[in-house]
């Protein structure tokens, strides 16, 4: 469904992305993980049209969308959330979500009905009339998710929707994400919470320092020495091996 190939992007002297390729199969939940500063969020920016790559291409359903502005990609069915939540603070929860649903519904009554339905789906049904600024961290994460869902996407990019949530809040939101996939939406997610990554993802890509260092099924990726070294430091894989043999 999504093919990204050979993406590079530098900011000044920093090579944030260095020849990154990845692909997301239709109907899957694909994880994008890696240590802080690996370039995951920049990669999301490239896929959603917020960051222009220096080289490489982004292909969505066979169409080259590398140079397309963000709002047109949203119309194609690519929706994203932001790692640092970006609520419309002056609007109510319902109004926030309606901005998303207005993308496919011109009539106010239809857009509001859609927004209500999406709010209930992510567990914000009781808070529609509250100002978005009054939400808790968990509530704001749900609002990010709700707004993106309201655009009725085919591909949903989730940027650390679980970060900052406590274990019980994470337990509450996992079924929501499962439900979204079950409704036919393909998901690409950046996530640090490994418990969630293992539970949700079909495939995982691992980035470190702007490069793709591993890809595959969750179990295999977790045992990959490159991945262990990227997270725990040079030599860590060998030491773990020794510890395991001892």
């Amino acid at each position: 469904m999504l093919e990204v190939s050979g993406i590079s992007r530098s900011f000044g002297g920093v090579r944030a992305l260095d020849g990154i390729s990845l692909s997301v199969a239709s109907g899957s939940i694909t994880g994008l993980i890696g240590p802080n500063g690996a370039g995951k969020t920049t990669m999301f920016g490239v896929i959603s049209g917020f960051v222009a790559p220096d080289t490489g291409s982004v292909t969505y359903r066979g169409a080259d969308i590398t140079g397309e502005p963000a709002h047109l990609r949203a119309r194609r069915g690519i929706a994203r959330t932001f790692q640092i939540v970006q609520p419309f603070a002056g609007l109510s929860v319902g109004e926030n979500i309606a901005v998303g649903s207005y993308l496919r519904h011109t009539k106010p009554s239809e857009a509001k009905a859609r927004a209500d339905a999406v709010a209930r789906r992510v567990g914000l049904g009781a808070m529609l009339d509250q100002p978005a600024s009054a939400l808790t961290v968990a509530g704001r994460k749900r609002l990010e998710l709700a707004r993106a869902l309201a655009t009725e996407p085919d591909l949903l990019l989730l940027d650390e929707v679980l970060a900052g949530l406590n274990p019980s809040e994470i337990r509450d939101i996992l079924p929501v994400i499962h439900g979204i996939r079950a409704s036919g939406v393909t998901i690409l997610m950046i996530e640090h919470v490994m418990q969630a990554v293992m539970a949700l993802c079909d495939d995982i890509f691992v980035m470190a320092q702007g490069k793709m260092i591993a890809e595959g099924k969750p179990d295999a990726v977790c045992r990959d020495p490159h991945v262990i070294e990227a997270y725990l430091g040079h030599g860590a894989a060998a030491r773990m091996q020794e510890a395991g043999n001892a």
């Binding site: 949203a74 419309f88 901005v99 993106a148």
Partner: protein, 318 residues
């Protein structure tokens, strides 16, 4: 917008409509001037209030509406009503042109404000210099009372037309606020990145807002010219109207439907009062306006309308 607020507004317009029947010419004159400013401020509010793009240069649209209407009649003998429509269209075009340039360059905040001011000033200097626009001595429209010429013996007729225009724009504002366009404007005002991610075309949305905003403010300019018949560069493109449009909207309640109207009436009422008490000090009303603006920003950032809503809400919850 609750039913009670709508009722209040209809009542306010009805009372205003009764004023010309009872009051002296002086009061009607005050009312018409306040309505012209209200109309300009309602236009400003579409861009500044709903889309959050604070313009210091709405004189560019007011003046274009006024000059085009006057020049078409004077130089080309066009019918006043046709010239009025052309004036509004020209104002809208001016908005589209300035918007295309400024928003394409992604100017925001104080940069946007300064560039709009610069456009208005350039137009003021040009119209002041060119013979075609009457230069520094200005343009005087021939007095020919009659409905066909958009001129009336009775000042009250102007007041009623003004009230009808203001009422129409209030309804339009209300309609926008509850529409898809309104939601897109609010999204652009709040957070452009989040809006883009949700499929909002920022450039197109801002362009629509400035074009509509300019058309409404141009209508105020058209109305000014037909009422006063005289126009020069400092009236048409002067900073006074940019500032009054912005002041009325901010003091009345930025981004609210009725704020600009209430602000214009309050400002002009207060201006008249202070001129009455301290008429010997030239410009004393402007001093009061300045103090009011500071007070509004410090204590009632949502203006008179916002403060009133908070007061009513507070009493209900108590």
């Amino acid at each position: 917008m609750k039913r009670s607020e709508l009722l209040f507004l209809v009542a306010l317009l009805a009372v205003l409509a009764l004023v010309p029947l009872l009051a002296s010419n002086l009061v009607i004159n005050f009312l018409v001037t306040a309505l012209i400013v209200a109309l300009a401020a309602l236009g400003w509010n579409i861009l500044g209030g709903l889309a959050g793009q604070i313009s210091f240069g709405h004189a560019a649209f007011f003046g274009t509406g006024a000059y085009v209407t006057e020049l078409l009649q004077l130089r080309f003998g066009m019918n006043a009503w046709a010239a009025a429509v052309a004036g509004i269209a020209a104002g809208a075009l001016m908005g589209l042109a300035i918007g295309a340039a400024v928003f394409r360059a992604r100017l925001r905040g104080s940069y946007f404000a300064l560039v709009t001011l610069a456009f208005a000033e350039v137009l003021r200097i040009l119209t002041n210099a060119l013979d075609f626009t009457g230069g520094a001595s200005g343009l005087l429209l021939k007095l020919q009372p009659g409905a066909a010429h958009f001129q009336f013996d009775q000042r009250s007729v102007f007041a009623w037309i003004g009230i009808a225009c203001v009422g129409g724009v209030l309804l339009l504002t209300r309609h926008i606020m509850h529409s898809r366009f309104g939601a897109q404007l609010a999204a652009v005002l709040e957070n452009e990145d989040a809006a883009r991610a949700l499929g909002v075309d920022i450039f197109a949305t801002k362009l629509r807002a400035i074009t509509l905003s300019a058309a409404i403010t141009a209508a105020a300019g058209v109305f000014y010219v037909q009422y006063f018949l005289y126009l020069d560069a400092n009236i048409g493109y002067g900073t006074w109207i940019s500032i009054e449009a912005l002041l009325a909207a901010i003091i009345g309640g930025v981004g609210t439907m009725a704020g600009p109207l209430i602000g214009a009436l309050a400002l002009h009422g207060l201006g008249e009062l202070t001129r009455g008490f301290a008429g010997s000090i030239t410009g004393i009303d402007l001093v009061i306006f300045g103090l009011l603006l500071v007070a509004a920003i410090a204590f009632a950032p949502a203006g008179i309308v916002g403060a009133w809503k908070r007061y009513v809400g507070g009493r209900r919850n108590a």
